[in-house]
Symmetry: C4
Subunit: 206 residues, 4 copies
């Protein structure tokens, strides 16, 4: 209760982390709403049901990719916030806008599920991912610049994390280029986000 009369702009980070966990859990679960149970015109047979289910396989793939990407971003955000001492208003708003892009994922995932043969849908999905990765990068960059990172975190750790976050942006940009070449398979490039941390650590020699 030491800060009862505190008018300063510094806040502790625990509350934000609770909101982040809640929003990720919900966004990851809402992805399933992109998988509408097919409404089949009678007569309904095993064959028509199987055909209808095969018809939503693109939605399933889109959902799986988005689920994995959200898990990757959730994990890296947690790792970052374990090392941030406290927040100011700017850092809070960087994270609120970041969460806004997270919340948009079920929408853009549904879009690529429904219209995966058109590059417009992939462009929107990739713009969504660009928002997420850019704000994640800004988050760490700003926290470092304004001394909000815990003093025990070493310079090497800060640098490697900076590169990991930059790496996500590069992956998104690569996916964007691929969208115009092979729209339906451009999301494959996102698989590299899974081992990203280990790749960057290896290159950095830690």
């Amino acid at each position: 209760m030491s800060e009862n009369d505190d008018f300063s702009l510094l806040m502790d980070t625990k509350r934000l982390e609770t909101l982040v966990d809640g929003i990720f859990a919900i966004a990851m679960t809402l992805l399933v709403l992109g998988l509408a149970v097919p409404q089949i015109a009678p007569p309904v047979t095993e064959a028509t049901l199987q055909a209808a289910i095969l018809g939503i396989v693109p939605n399933l793939i889109s959902m799986v990719v988005s689920f994995v990407l959200l898990a990757v971003f959730w994990k890296i955000h947690h790792k970052i916030f374990k090392r941030i001492k406290y927040m100011n208003g700017t850092l809070l708003w960087i994270n609120v806008i970041w969460l806004l892009f997270i919340v948009l994922v079920p929408f853009s995932a549904s879009l690529t599920g429904d219209y995966g043969n058109l590059y417009t849908s992939h462009l929107i999905f990739n713009l969504n991912m660009l928002g997420i990765s850019t704000l994640l990068f800004l988050n760490w960059h700003y926290a470092n610049k304004t001394n909000l990172i815990h003093e025990k975190v070493g310079k090497k750790y800060i640098d490697v994390t900076w590169r990991v976050n930059a790496g996500y942006i590069i992956v998104v940009l690569a996916a964007m280029v691929l969208t115009f070449i092979i729209p339906q398979f451009s999301s494959i490039v996102y698989l590299i986000t899974i081992p990203m941390e280990y790749i960057v650590k290896s290159i950095s020699g830690v």
Copy 2:
């Protein structure tokens, strides 16, 4: 376990805060359901998809405004409850009704997204915001009047918070007036809620 046999009406606040965090995380994420993936009549081309997506831009704007407003209210509620020692039944019910208005936001946001050219939709959105800001004000006012605020919180802090909460009500009333003049742009006035705390603090000289 000191209060096992306690028939008093005082409750600790931690449980309510967990419910508040959960409801905010869900309401903020449910906003995305206001962004239905457009169902396009064939033939589906890049051009028709792009046109359909442009058609939901008003829903996106409505969603972003609501998301930011919910983040503002979530933050101020947390700050307030950090300074409230315990609750009685009345304070609990003020907060339950407040949460009811929070839960209504995805509905009224969808309404302005779909019918943003009509002042009726903005009126309902603004009535929703009026409920939220009035109950937030009542919450602090009642807690102060009935000595539920922690004794270490200074009079100056109580006054400034009182003014910040009154400020939100004034912003909503301003938005209501603007609804009848420029319905489609009335929500712009809500942007002032973001720096509200800092403005009030500056005016109050703290």
Copy 3:
């Protein structure tokens, strides 16, 4: 880690409480999905939108009643579990089935919202509430019978809580009878659940 090799059936209650908080937050927020934004056939005017919104007022009332009832049940469950030391498998399953009835509330609330002029919808809503109140009663009754209540909780407290829980069942049964007399207003009787605790305490003279 004292129970690492423990094959006993006793569990601590904290995990269940986290699940309960999560499910209540979501069920209370999902109630808003019962308020579908009206799809109006063109021409859309202020008058047709206002008429369409008036048309969902029954859904709003149904939603508000359900929201308040869920808040009442959430509060009483928390108070009860603060006094329960640990769980066995039976108590866990009483609570899982209780949560199943909680999860059904958004469905039965939508039903009374859409078909409030028919007693069938109210009967289903009331059966849902009967399930909730009966299992809440069973929960405390069983915990008491099998000595799972904390030993510091006095006999008087146990008795009063027993009566409060029985009171909820009586209210539901009263609503059920009213359904056949005044279907559209039968839910009014539920308002008595809000001061129920205080009424029972007053009658019991504590």
Copy 4:
């Protein structure tokens, strides 16, 4: 803050448990969306509403079975993670994929609710359950093999848990075989998951 400069791959498990609790609470509550309020063509009478509600009884049964199964898997996952000291990247990804199958349950439950007379729907539901039970088994097996289980957990406990997890896989396989014989009643076999732990413990003589 001892691991601030830690580039090792070991993580603590608490964060994952929060995500798991959130996702289970949401998936269990989203099951209710499989119970769409019937849209009845006028004239709407008590008889047509009752007929429409009887028409969604298969969806209700499907929802109840899925709710109970999710509760069983939630409980066993918690018991397991109480005994796991920390995670590495592989264990995290086993759990992320496990959560992906959890999130799919509202979809496959809706499918069996809508098309319960066709074995295709049950096959998909059972494949979903096979994914859940296999990854749960892998989780414990891998944690044991790589010494991530707390050292105080005895060999007997590890063996019994291994058998319980194998038991779930056997139940799913039994349900799959039954699907081809009695599709509409194959899910009854899942009721055995409720006392599974106690059965395996009895057979193992602990």
